[in-house]
Amino acid sequence: MDITIRPKPHYKFQAYMLIFMVLNSQIGVGIFGFQRYIYRESGHDAWVSVLVAALFCHGSAWLIVSALKRYESTDLYGIHQDIFGKWIGGFLSILLMIHFSTITITIIRTYIEAVQSWIFPSFPTWLMVAMMLSLALYGGAGGIRVIVGMSLISFVIIFLIASLYYYPLRYAQWSRLLPLLEASPSQIMSGAKHMGFTMTGFEVIYFLYPFVRDKPKTMRSMQISIAISSVLLILVMAISIVYFSENQLLKGTWSSINMQKIVKYPFIERLEFVTLAVWMITLIPTIMLTTWITSNGFNRLFGFRQYRMRYVISGFIFICSILFVNRGHIDKLNDYISESAVIFSFVYPTFIYISILMKSSLNKLRAKSKEDV
């Protein structure tokens, strides 16, 4: 496997498109009901927890992009190969591919659970999984630039739907945010930790970097994207705190959808049915991207043809997704993924960055000792 990738120019895209892609992979199904997990830890200061988590994201993104910048044009698979060699590096790469597949399963299954609870209780799971995967397969066939384009569309949809959170503000009780910073730092930190699954997703830059046309601008786009999604999540959290009362927020499984229950137009009385359905469009690019990353991994590691692997991976995800039957299973999956997301998006980038630094200083030492000899 070559460490450096040189994609053909027609596969590359401008750095500013990363804003849409990274935001889209951050905002997924986590936003449906993340509030109560944070609120349980840090109470009415939950929005501070989200803010702290956002700062960690910014830091982690800085580490990731700085690590990538030390190479000419490579992805995480290449970095693994370079630092840890073929076997250990390959093992880590496979671990990552499994992680991304699990994320895909979590996204699909959590979304379907929400649709079944809200709109179609008797809708067969396998059919819904098949529909989402076939859409993702069909779109993904166009390659990375189609995924970029889809991300732009879902970026627009995310903001249209987010603008609906103006309505709950009419029922806001602002005193619920007071007194400020009542939670202890440790409570705020443990709330921030629970943002894991909701906020991660920016690590996709590890795999997109070779395809960025103007690489020096990568850092700026990444930070802008994370800032936008952080502001969005902080707003949703703060609005939930002022809209719901203490124990009511802890009871709601999908607080974000619940808040849309009050949006009412003369021609549509229950807008959340529409927004929940439309939300699928924002999930498709994420699924496309994660399957693309995994199939790309097979291509890079074993030299398999990428388009064939996409079918294999989709089949694997399909089978795994329908194995989860009830809410208990899905909650367990979400618990697992929020733990592993923290490791893969915050701890792991730090580890990689330090490894790269160590390796380059070792190389320098070696070169120096050679000169000395």
């Binding site: 529909m131 029922y171 005193s175 719901f244 009362s245 229950k261 009050i262 009412k264 009385e269």
Partner: protein, 377 residues
């Protein structure tokens, strides 16, 4: 056949085949419930009454009312379907009524059931009825084609413009699950073959503990910072006004004035935590609409005097309302929330607050700013 047209053909096939997979709900095959009433029966049973839109177009009545006995509200729906020619659905329910006996036992289970089922909106109004809801809903009203829709319109109108605080499922559950505020719902009644909103039901821990009058409701609504009641009627003793009332006119010992509310703001502040004292202040811009005596507006200080008298008497009324809520131990204004949000690390829980609230003292003040006296003086 090229690639694009093959894809298009596949898509058309998928769309036409897959759309049949979901259970359909054809409007013509449904009965839409618009109002549901719950009555308490012995043995933990409930009697549930549903008013639906006429499901048979040829029927003379524009409504159909069904009543069943059941243990749960979903069980009631199953039992009701035994009487229906079309499937009864709950997506159009606008009003839920509780009999006051049931309200005194607690109604949060039913409110939670509403929220658990996504087919109900969160904007359904919850109402307490001072008589059996079955009787209220199945009575043959000569003036309303559908009492369910009429009730909804009546409550909605009063919530938007008048003295009734908003009473949606969301707000009921929000207040029930909050630490420092209790819910409040309107009470409907039937008098002379007509329905009306009689008073307000005050809750404590999800159980109805007492009532509040229309006037108390209006002051409560000012404090809740919702849409504000549009008008206030104030009765003032003659003493302070005698100077400006023209002589020779018949003089009663009370002067009644009506002011319209052009905009008000209220503030609740915790003054001290021991003894627990709150400062309640309402500022209202008002326009005089009616006064029962021949008041001399041309005299110097006349308007200032009227303003001061209005403020004084309204403050007394506000104080009366607050004391009434306190006597019933129903913190419907949300002083607990003020306490929680003003004191750091208060660790307030509903139980702690219930012990503190009866000892709270209030300093209530209404400040009327009489902007104009209508088009004449």
């Amino acid at each position: 056949m090229n690639r694009t047209s093959r894809c298009a053909a596949l898509l058309v096939c998928c769309v036409s085949v897959l759309t049949g997979c979901v259970r359909t709900t054809v409007l013509e095959r449904l009965s839409l419930g618009v109002a549901v009433g719950y009555d308490r029966l012995p043995d933990n049973k409930m009697e549930v009454t549903t008013v639906t839109l006429a499901s048979v177009p040829e029927a003379k009545e524009k409504r159909q009312v069904v009543s069943v006995e059941a243990l749960t509200s979903k069980g009631a729906r199953m039992a009701m379907n035994q009487q229906m020619a079309r499937l009864l659905v709950s997506g159009q329910i606008r009003v839920i009524l509780y009999n006051d006996k049931l309200a005194k036992e607690g109604v949060i289970d039913i409110a939670d059931t509403l929220s658990r089922d996504p087919s109900h909106g969160d904007m359904i109004y919850l109402v307490v009825s001072d008589m059996s809801t079955r009787d209220l809903l199945s009575y043959n009203y000569s003036e309303y084609p559908n009492v369910g829709l009429y009730l909804y319109g009546m409550i909605d109108q009063n919530v938007r413009n008048e003295w009734v605080p908003s009473c949606t499922v969301h707000e009921f559950r929000r207040d029930y699950y909050s630490i420092g505020k209790q819910p409040v719902l309107p009470i409907v009644a039937r008098q002379n073959g007509k329905v009306l909103i009689k008073s307000l039901a005050l809750f404590k821990g999800g159980k109805m503990v007492g009532e509040a009058t229309r006037e108390q409701g209006a002051y409560l609504k000012l404090l809740l910072q919702e849409r504000q009641p549009s008008q206030f009627e104030v009765a003032m003793p003659l003493e302070g006004m005698r100077k400006f009332i023209k002589k020779g006119d018949s003089v009663h010992n009370k002067v009644n004035a009506v002011i319209s509310n052009l905009g008000s703001s209220s503030s609740l502040k915790l003054v001290s935590s021991s003894p627990l004292t709150f400062k309640v202040k309402i500022k209202m811009k008002a326009e005089l609409q009616e006064i029962t005596e021949n008041y001399d507006f041309t005299a110097k200080e006349a308007i200032g005097n009227l303003q001061a008298e209005l403020s004084k008497n309204m403050s007394a009324k506000l104080m009366e309302a607050l004391n009434h809520f306190q006597k019933l131990d129903a913190d419907v204004v949300g002083f607990g929330e003020v306490y929680r949000s003003s004191i750091r690390h208060s660790g307030l829980s509903p139980e702690v607050w219930q012990k503190k609230f009866p000892n709270a003292r209030f300093d209530a003040q209404v400040e009327v700013n009489l902007i104009r006296t209508g088009t004449i003086e």
